[in-house]
């Protein structure tokens, strides 16, 4: 099971700012190991952020996203205590969902 995401969601004016740090290798498939074998690509392909069940951001990622991906964005609305749920799926079909309350 991959490590949990670090999520911070705060109300800024009339918007909510969401900052996420995920824990993932994000292997590009371009690198070789010491024996010269290509290390297969392993990376997050989809990220969905939902506020009280409504999607507020959908992302598709390629291998160029840096290791332990960072993501930040803002959406309108959102109040203290509302639930933010984030799910990622990688190219091996592995999945992780974490949630937090807006603080």
């Amino acid at each position: 099971m991959p490590d949990p995401m670090k999520i911070r969601a705060t109300v800024v004016g009339d918007s909510t700012e969401v900052r996420v740090l995920m824990s993932h290798e994000m292997e590009t498939g371009q690198r070789k190991d010491a024996q010269g074998n290509v290390i297969p690509a392993w990376f997050i392909q989809n990220v969905v952020v939902a506020h009280k069940g409504r999607p507020v951001l959908n992302a598709q990622w390629g291998t160029a996203i840096a290791k332990n991906p960072f993501l930040s964005f803002k959406f309108k609305g959102g109040a203290k205590g509302d639930k933010i749920e984030i799910t990622w799926v990688d190219n091996r079909g592995e999945k992780r969902t974490d949630e937090t309350a807006i603080g």
Binding site: N46, Q60, G62, I65, F70, F73
Partner: protein, 157 residues
């Protein structure tokens, strides 16, 4: 529920049918989003190819797309912060493309109404390159670019 969806997909398969089911509230849109990944665009080897697949072949240069907290020189190509803000009305999606990377398309962010067209993330860059921010707004494409110099590549072994 899960079972029925499988059958529906097998029987019909069509995107229209799927959209209809989503609209009818049978399926959560989240399910659909979690499965869509634009394989051909992400696997494109050149910028032109990626743009073509993505549908942004003819895009207008725009001053309403701004790079924020993005460096001119990145000391470490493995972690390059990129921030993109679009002030074009009805921005639906923002994509990041890095011209000199083995696969130029780095990310696509779909912006639903109510979400601000401003995103920040960190990417890997193989070498000094132009970085393109492609914005889809109201069905049209706009683009802005910025050169980022890389002193140490991010894709070396």
């Amino acid at each position: 529920m899960q079972n029925m969806r499988r059958k529906v997909l097998k029987a019909g398969g069509g995107v229209a049918l799927y959209a209809l089911l989503v609209a009818a509230g049978w399926l959560k849109p989240g399910d659909a989003a979690a499965q869509s990944w634009n394989k051909s665009a992400f696997e494109a080897k050149t910028l032109d190819e990626a743009l073509k697949v993505f549908g942004g072949g003819s895009s207008a240069q725009s001053k309403d797309i701004v790079f924020v907290s993005t460096p001119d020189i990145a000391e470490n190509g493995a972690v390059v912060p990129i921030g993109i803000t679009s002030s074009i009305p009805k921005t639906e999606a923002i994509a990041i493309l890095i011209e000199k990377n083995p696969n130029p398309l780095a990310a696509i962010f779909e912006i639903p109404p109510g979400t601000e067209p401003a995103i920040g993330t960190r990417v890997k860059m193989a070498q000094t390159s132009n970085v393109y921010a492609l914005v889809k707004a109201d069905g049209k494409y706009y683009v802005a670019s910025k050169e980022i110099k890389v002193t140490l590549g991010g894709c070396g072994g």
